[in-house]
């Protein structure tokens, strides 16, 4: 049986892309912490992950059918953009800004830990592959 690298790395490759995208969105929020009218956003990670075909949660009713090899699949980055949602503000300020710096920092820290966890998973997969290749 041939080894398929895509399936070998499993859900982690998609998760890494999504987490990297989420890192950008959270950085956006923090960079715009003082921009009047800016609305904080975040990625609906569960839905985005489920739509990439991963087992992140309940399958979404709306997914792109890929009936032809030429069709574009559900790329995690596209999914992330589609699942970009506005945050429900806890205490919006008068200038229309809904960024809560503490909340964003916490979300960023959370995302960092998840990113590192995914890196660890990927790293161990790659290491076991290397062990198999080098036979040592």
């Amino acid at each position: 049986m041939a080894l398929n690298l895509d399936t070998y790395l499993g859900v982690h490759a998609d998760a890494l892309k999504l987490q990297s995208k989420r890192m950008e969105v959270l950085a956006d929020n923090l960079a715009n912490a003082d921009t009047p009218g800016y609305k904080a956003r975040d990625i609906d990670f569960r839905t985005a992950m489920a739509n990439t075909g991963g087992s992140g949660g309940a399958p979404s009713p709306v997914t792109l059918a890929t009936t032809n090899p030429g069709h574009l699949g559900t790329d995690p980055t596209t999914e992330a953009n589609a699942n970009l949602k506005y945050r429900v503000p806890l205490a919006p300020s008068l200038d229309g800004n809904t960024v809560d710096a503490q909340q964003e920092q916490a979300a960023f820290a959370d995302n960092t830990v998840r990113y590192q966890a995914t890196l660890t998973f990927l790293s161990s997969r790659i290491k076991s592959l290397m062990t198999a290749i080098t036979g040592q």
Binding site: E24, L30, A31, D34, N81, A101, Q105, L122
Partner: protein, 143 residues
């Protein structure tokens, strides 16, 4: 997919906050620069921030959304509140009525603005460091 977009975002945040710190420094430095003419007196300056991105859903193209939102300083506006008139005939700058005009800089407001800018700057630096570490860890994947 560009993994390094986050550095552009953070960089824009850092430069925006640094412009804000600059205006605070300028306002504080000139807080006591009195003048004999109300039209030439120093006016407090404040930066105007704007998110570089159309709101999601309204005329936002897919590339717009994918590019994320950095922040830019669209301009620096002057506070048009009238300067404070003060009777100080001993001042060499006083007009014929003995009045000098002090800038409309509110020092307490500027100090709190400085703390807010400094915290926001630190936030951005923290994001930069963390994402840099993560990028480096990603580069070393499997080794």
């Amino acid at each position: 997919m560009s993994s390094f977009k986050i550095f552009d975002i953070v960089g824009s945040g850092l430069s925006a906050q640094s412009v804000r710190l600059n205006t605070v420094a300028s306002n504080l430095a000139n807080a006591d620069s009195v003048s004999g003419d109300p039209s030439t007196v120093y006016k407090a300056r404040h930066p105007v921030f704007q998110a570089v991105q159309a709101a999601v859903g309204q005329s936002a193209t897919a590339s717009d959304r994918a590019n994320g939102a950095s922040v830019r300083v669209t301009g620096i506006v002057q506070n048009n509140a009238p300067p404070t008139e003060r009777y100080d005939p001993g001042n060499p700058l006083a007009d014929q009525n003995g009045n000098v005009y002090a800038p409309n800089v509110n020092v307490v407001e500027e100090m709190t603005d400085m703390i807010s800018a400094s915290r926001a700057y630190q936030d951005n630096v923290e994001v930069l460091n963390t994402s840099k570490d993560l990028m480096l860890a990603t580069l070393k994947l499997g080794s």
